[in-house]
């Protein structure tokens, strides 16, 4: 495809808002990746609770969020919370909704990794005198996290792509800005193609970073 100078000249008119949009997409993606990871570890810890009721509630939460569309939950928050008198900005709603959703997925990945752990190591840690919390912090969590790195980095990539849906709850990020550009210039095809290309670029950056992280965190002698 020939480099289309007139198109880019057109884009240049909207450059400030495009950059703003890009910034907001990156801001949202990074935020939910972090909160989703922390939340995921927390939910994972709950899934290992010695109390059956806690485990059951946690598994139900995980099942529910993995089994329903993210956008429906975002709508629930966006259109539903005002009925309860709670008004939150679209950004906060997005972070809240995404965090609950992504935490469930991350917790699922961590519990899958947990099943592959050597239970004898955990028994040995208890026998040494470590508390349940210490066993989790020193053995269970580090091993589960390091064994889940591919799934967790995949989730980070998914977060970037999923961030494109928040325009539906009025959070104006990159995709929303590009939609406006498209409707102003009437160059729908080229504009959206460019949009796809930018997302591909963002994703590629994370893919490269993820490979390095995977190499660094792999447990020697495993995988």
């Amino acid at each position: 495809m020939r480099v289309d100078f007139p198109f880019f000249a057109d884009l240049a008119n909207y450059w400030p808002q495009i950059v703003r949009g890009l910034r907001d997409t990156i801001l949202l993606s990074v935020t939910i990746t972090i909160t989703g990871l922390i939340g995921g570890i927390g939910v994972f810890a709950l899934a290992l609770s010695p109390r059956g009721l806690v485990r059951f509630a946690t598994q139900s939460y995980i099942s529910l969020f993995i089994g329903t569309p993210l956008i429906v939950f975002l709508f629930l928050l966006y259109y539903g919370l005002p009925n309860l008198g709670v008004t939150l900005s679209p950004f906060v709603i997005a972070v809240l909704g995404f965090t609950l959703n992504v935490s469930a997925y991350n917790a699922r990945y961590l519990t899958i990794a947990y099943k592959g752990l050597d239970q004898a190591e955990l028994e040995s840690a208890r026998a040494q005198g470590f508390s349940l919390f210490q066993v989790f912090r020193l053995i269970t969590a580090p091993q589960s996290l390091r064994m889940s790195v591919p799934a967790l980095t995949n989730q980070a990539i998914q977060n970037i792509k999923d961030s494109s849906i928040v325009f539906l709850i009025q959070y104006i990020e990159f995709f929303a800005q590009m939609q406006e550009v498209a409707s102003r210039t009437f160059l729908f095809f080229k504009t959206y193609l460019f949009t796809a290309f930018v997302y591909l670029l963002l994703v590629s950056v994370v893919v490269l970073a993820a490979r390095r992280v995977e190499r660094k965190l792999a447990i020697p002698g495993l995988t």
């Binding site: 089994g67 429906v72 792509k161 796809a196 591909l200």
Partner: protein
């Protein structure tokens, strides 16, 4: 509106949701299988090209691709109706993910059986069809289930191109009744119900077609 009236309206959308899900799933299976088999049979160039295609499809947000197909293509002369637009976006992307599932599953097929087939004189294509494919499918089941449920979870976006599925019905209802919490909670549970039904259906099919002694996990 009464609760029953609300439920009926939502169920009207369910028909479309299922139509969209099955159409996109079918597309994904065809595309995914096609790509995976082409990579098994093809030479280095074809594999590299398909690899790049898969990478791009996995790196682009589904909504963006949908907009390219539905809003962009008309600009260069191609008018795509809503359902085919979904199939060309959600279907293609899921197809790319499925091709990776199949690629991994092909790698799990026992190399000895392949060697045995080849020494019996089967061509590459025949080996693929008779030995690799049947076994590969069974290894791929968890990945297929995962991807198909993902298709279901992306089906709501069909409303942006006008398809009146569950979420569209819900949005209309909320606009008139202002009962956002109940309605969106209801469709959340509705989607969850469909999700569990799909899972159960697949498990049933798996049991019926399982090979004795071919245990997984």
């Amino acid at each position: 509106m009464t609760f029953v009236e609300i439920l009926l309206t939502l169920l009207k959308g369910a028909g479309y949701t299922l139509l969209i899900t099955f159409s996109c799933a079918a597309t994904a299976l065809v595309v995914g299988l096609g790509i995976a088999m082409a990579r098994e049979l093809g030479g280095a160039w074809l594999s590299a090209l398909l690899s790049a295609v898969v990478y791009v499809l996995r790196g682009v947000p589904m909504l963006v691709l949908l907009f390219i197909v539905f809003f962009g293509l008309p600009g260069i002369g191609l008018d795509v109706p809503p359902l085919p637009a979904m199939m060309l976006s959600l279907g293609l992307i899921s197809g790319a993910y499925l091709s990776e599932v199949f690629r991994g599953a092909f790698a799990e097929v026992s190399p000895n059986e392949v060697l045995a087939a080849q020494s019996m004189g089967f061509t590459r294509f025949e080996t693929l069809r008779v030995i690799k494919l049947p076994q590969m499918i069974r290894f791929a089941v968890p990945g297929i289930v995962n991807e198909l449920t993902t298709v279901l979870k992306f089906s709501p976006f069909a409303y942006t191109v006008g398809l009146p599925e569950i979420t569209k019905q819900a949005m209309a209802l909320v606009a008139t009744t202002m009962r956002g919490i109940e309605i969106y909670a209801a469709i959340g549970l509705l989607y969850f119900g469909i999700y569990r039904l799909l899972l159960a259906a697949v498990q049933l099919i798996e049991k019926r077609y399982s090979i004795p002694g071919f245990a997984q996990e």
